[in-house]
Subunit: 378 residues, 2 copies
Amino acid sequence: MSTELKRGLEGVVVTESELSDIDGEAGRLIYRGYTIDELARQASYEETLYLLWHGELPNSRQLKVFSEQMAAARSLDEGVLKIVRDLAEADQEPMAALRTITSALAAYDPEADAEVTDEEANNRKSRRITAKMPTALAAYNQIRNGNEPIAPREDLSHAANFLYMLNGEEPDDVLAETFDMALVLHADHGLNASTFSAMVTASTLADLHSAVTSAIGTLSGSLHGGANANVMKMLKEIDDSEMDPVEWVVDALERGERVAGFGHRVYNVKDPRANILGEHSEALGEAAGDTKWYEMSLAIEEYIKAEKGLAPNVDFYSASTYYQMGIPIDLYTPIFAISRVGGWLAHVLEQWEDNRLIRPRAHYTGPEDVEYVPLDER
Amino acid sequence: MSTELKRGLEGVVVTESELSDIDGEAGRLIYRGYTIDELARQASYEETLYLLWHGELPNSRQLKVFSEQMAAARSLDEGVLKIVRDLAEADQEPMAALRTITSALAAYDPEADAEVTDEEANNRKSRRITAKMPTALAAYNQIRNGNEPIAPREDLSHAANFLYMLNGEEPDDVLAETFDMALVLHADHGLNASTFSAMVTASTLADLHSAVTSAIGTLSGSLHGGANANVMKMLKEIDDSEMDPVEWVVDALERGERVAGFGHRVYNVKDPRANILGEHSEALGEAAGDTKWYEMSLAIEEYIKAEKGLAPNVDFYSASTYYQMGIPIDLYTPIFAISRVGGWLAHVLEQWEDNRLIRPRAHYTGPEDVEYVPLDER
């Protein structure tokens, strides 16, 4: 047994996977052999889910069946809606609410008792979890704003339906396509921490709801999914300060602060997802006649690149994209979750084809042979 | 970067820890230098928690303050009780219910918004989570049986109070001490899968409620905490069959079935916890004038040892111990959780002293450079 310490498991290869691959030197991300560029520009989120879960892109008939199955699974049981209401009224913050609600979906899943290894049941459960999380998130947002939840519509795409439930009106094509692109972009990314936590949970043969619940909790951390909201908070702070963005960043760096949205353990060059999101951020600004958020982001990107040699990651341009779409800042991370759930489930289903318990070791550095002194003599 | 595949992370050392150490050859388990034998026989669960969380055994005054803090944190908010009621009425199975409820505790925690790295807040949150999980579990059990939840009492120990809430009457000393011993025995065990999942979640700086929720889900799997219930189901099946236990086991092995409660990735000899639990299983049988469950277990242990060279693990004797205490079989794994939560929290608090994101890699074995064919041409 090697006793070399592998802190953070950096560089440790824990499994084989056919799902996605990242070339950190070339700035390339593929899902099952397709570049993220092609998929984000051409495939819908439903097609991407099908690709991840079933190994290949669907043909028109397969996509129609799959999309209908997904759409039919969107609505929430009354019991789940009750919990959504309780949490929104208790002012629970959105990622924690989404974690609790997703965990609670298990109580109302018609196949909660199916064998963990029942492939067909797992496909149905995967669709239900992925279809219901956006409904729950939109309902939570409506309730905390004092409104009644808006029931999902089956005639809209996954992306368009979410925006419809969130805003109470059908999105135009630009909004729906931008959101769909964002869902595709975030759907999978190798063994990031949330995906890995889903795999650790599932490795004990715990069920899909447990695995996804773990992943949502993991994604909520500021070193993972929490970063996109932090980028937008920074951009707003810069805007409020009326300072030049680069000057603001120089000051922040001098105060020893980290600039959110830069650097990634896996990429050494610009994250390909940041390129695509940057284009959309610019396009949304141009359509609205005000490109300030994009320009501010670009100025910061150029400065940090020159000064620190760091490139923006996916969170950096998703921030201004979502902001210009009118999405509340504290929903950015939950939106990451409603996309990445596709990847979480894909990795778990892949792992169960040849499962192995994930159990590393710690090197014990505590005391040995301490004498036990009874309580009354301490 | 090594690309050697480390499936299941077997033998991979991911961190240093001062919390517990397992000598799988000698059959020895220590918490911070104290053998599990000494702790299980002499220390209470509260003392053990204090040891794990604060680095040393408390003196009488420290223990008094700590126990009072724990006892004062037992009761549940109305909002949590409502969710407990919903889940019990939806007939949600107990581990999934405990996962959802523990996640929901965050919504009612007065310090839910404290900085993740606020040590004092984390100590208080750790006490609240650990104090409230047993209350929630007992309330769930009362409600599913058609009863009202029994409010916790502050004048009883952690162990005795749980049995009081579960059964509606104060336990005698033997029951309370046996349960306390079981809680001490299960409190920590290196980087088992549930503890590791708590660490993966916390490594993104997700909060304690997220980490514990992940761990409960992970523990629920049949390859981890689910095993103790499976042992009891087997013993009951043997009893119902009226067969000789060894003959039953021989038949089961011939059918290609696994006998629950044997073998462990870390131990090559008998798990020291199984020894202690075996003694209690025997003592409970003797006190009740019927040692059949213990004798059945012992006969199976001897046969499997001779035939397969496998020794019983902690689950094997916790099954008959809990059964003779009158605990419902489907609460065995949740009881494991209300003990192990002490270890989960200890590992997360230790990790945050010098945190590092846990993000391994996968070796990509899928296709490369697949040509994207538009939907209408597929």
